[in-house]
Symmetry: C3
């Protein structure tokens, strides 16, 4: 089976492209790029941008990915299968992105960071260097993960979002903060201190309000969290077991 590469795309020699891929018009793929099977790359993308900051001169994208138009991905990036982007996404050097991750339109991944399996970033999310985003995380529009406690400086400390946490829109995480497993940060919050596991925190500065399991859905009065009780689209079937096991791990370390 062969791939459908636009005659208007510019593909460097030596690029590896798997079976059944589609590459849109005016997209540029630089040497050193490896694209998995069944992956679609839209128009006006640039994959494998060279950079002296990249740990290696490769951009690796897995199987079954969908990279939407006007997206830029640098060398030193490794992205696993099932990755989906919105439009105009920028992913800089040395980003390590797990399986089935989604990153929305206008998001800016500054590089030297990790994003775990099944995490979903909505539009216009800013991930500063040295950030660590766990698995099954949700990040909503205009959330900023900062990294410089004394800007500008060279002592950058990324922030960390643990598995299953949710960061609502317009919230800012100050450098080095840790958002605990399964916690929810309310909209428009400024997180200055670590947030423990499974709590709602919000405000500027963010304060702990209550355990997430006390958040009731307005629509029916049922518990809203852990969120996967109400939302499972595209996740593994055994999500409850995964959550329970991780909960044990994080509770033990708390």
């Amino acid at each position: 089976m062969t791939s459908n590469i636009s005659p208007n795309a510019v593909i460097a020699s030596g690029v590896e492209i798997g079976d059944n891929c589609s590459i849109g018009p005016f997209t540029i793929i630089h040497k050193g790029s490896r694209i998995g099977a069944n992956t679609t790359i839209g128009s006006f993308c640039e994959i494998g941008v060279e950079s002296s900051l990249a740990n290696n001169q490769e951009a690796v994208i897995g199987d079954n990915c969908l990279i939407r138009s006007h997206t830029t991905i640098y060398n030193g990036t490794k992205i696993e299968k099932g990755f989906i982007t919105g439009h105009n996404v920028v992913i800089r050097e040395n980003s390590t992105i797990g399986q089935n991750v989604r990153i929305g339109t206008f998001s800016d991944i500054q590089g030297d960071c990790k994003i775990g399996n099944y995490s979903r970033l909505h539009s216009s999310v800013f991930i500063g260097k040295f950030s660590e985003v766990g698995e099954f995380v949700w990040i909503f529009p205009y959330v900023v993960l900062t990294n410089d406690p004394c800007p500008p400086s060279k002592n950058l400390i990324g922030s960390t979002i643990q598995d299953f946490a949710v960061i609502a829109t317009m919230s800012t995480l100050l450098p080095g903060t840790v958002i605990g497993f399964g916690s929810l940060i309310g909209a428009n919050s400024l997180v200055q201190q670590n947030v423990p596991i499974e709590v709602l925190a919000l405000g500027s500065p963010a304060r702990i309000i209550k355990p997430v399991n006390q958040i009731l859905r307005k629509i029916d009065g049922f518990p809203g969290y852990p969120w996967f009780q109400n939302y499972r689209d595209g996740y593994p079937e055994e999500l409850s077991i995964i959550y329970a096991n991780l909960r044990l791990k994080y509770s033990g370390s708390a």
Copy 2:
């Protein structure tokens, strides 16, 4: 009269393009697109992006529009005459956009939403799915219209901005909130509850401060609102009558 289509543009067969249009280099127009007369589409745009989420496989753009470069418009979108975009705008499926609307650079219209006649969105505005923006509305940069009361969930409720309302920069509307006719939301606000008509509300959470007609302009001490007293560029001449009539309608329903 014929149109000026760049030889570097990629126009699918069957696309309808009106008289006196201009299509820039490297722009892609997919099948099912219909472009009105006297419309200019800049470079690096993609019009009529196919999607399984689109209600129909058409993108319809009216007469006398200006779509600036790097803009992406999906199928299922219907845009009336006189539409103007900034650069790098993304408009997803099933967006219904009235006459003489303007949407600024880096704005992200998530789809399944309505934007009424003569409304103007500045740069980097995020319109979540199921939002309803009325007529003669102004929305300033980095405003977010959210839709998920218990994120992530599937029970999305868009917010509503009534006619002639103004949302200042960096404000967030929580799901389902209604901003009343002619009201002003101050910069950096978090709107958690409905805002009645013709008031200034601001803060996080936003609170009602006073009627908008008590806002005086620093420059001369004259009333600043309704805003069309001071700003009429590009609006119909009978704007005062339109406002007065709508005011009656909204007052009656309050």
Copy 3:
């Protein structure tokens, strides 16, 4: 020495391009553009966009610049040597940009503004019309410089950031505000009033907290400001002398 211009670029006749430049695929350079020597322009850029609002039909870019992909620069813009952009930057008409300025990904420079030498804007910075950004300034992601005290109106008043000031992420400057020399605005602040020189101000509304020289770095307890004590990458060697001289100037005028 000649330049490396992609065969897929569209360069208007009469464009001046200096020695040793590189122009990427699918980039468009309009007539009236002048590009200095040793300058690299990435893919999908558009330089010299015509506009009836431009003071002149020229876009001038200096030597040793790096314009990254998907960037749009209008006519009436003058940019001096050593300019570096991220991706997807938009620079509108009549922007005057000094030497060695950096502007990050998704930043939106609305035009009719000045940005002084050696200032660095991070990603997604919004510079409203009539803003004045001094020299050696730092602006972090999602900062907004507004200009309309009574939106929408025609009486725009830009805000001013004096030399060596730092604006942390997600902060908004209201119209006409002046941020004093060497001051630091904390993250997520709403600046409503002028901020004097060399102070930390933060909050919504922003209030003065203390002189910047009382901010100690957590990492070692040393003073964090003036920031160039800790961060000098890419700046002139005589930065301390420049700072001291400017300090005298600003102190005298305070």
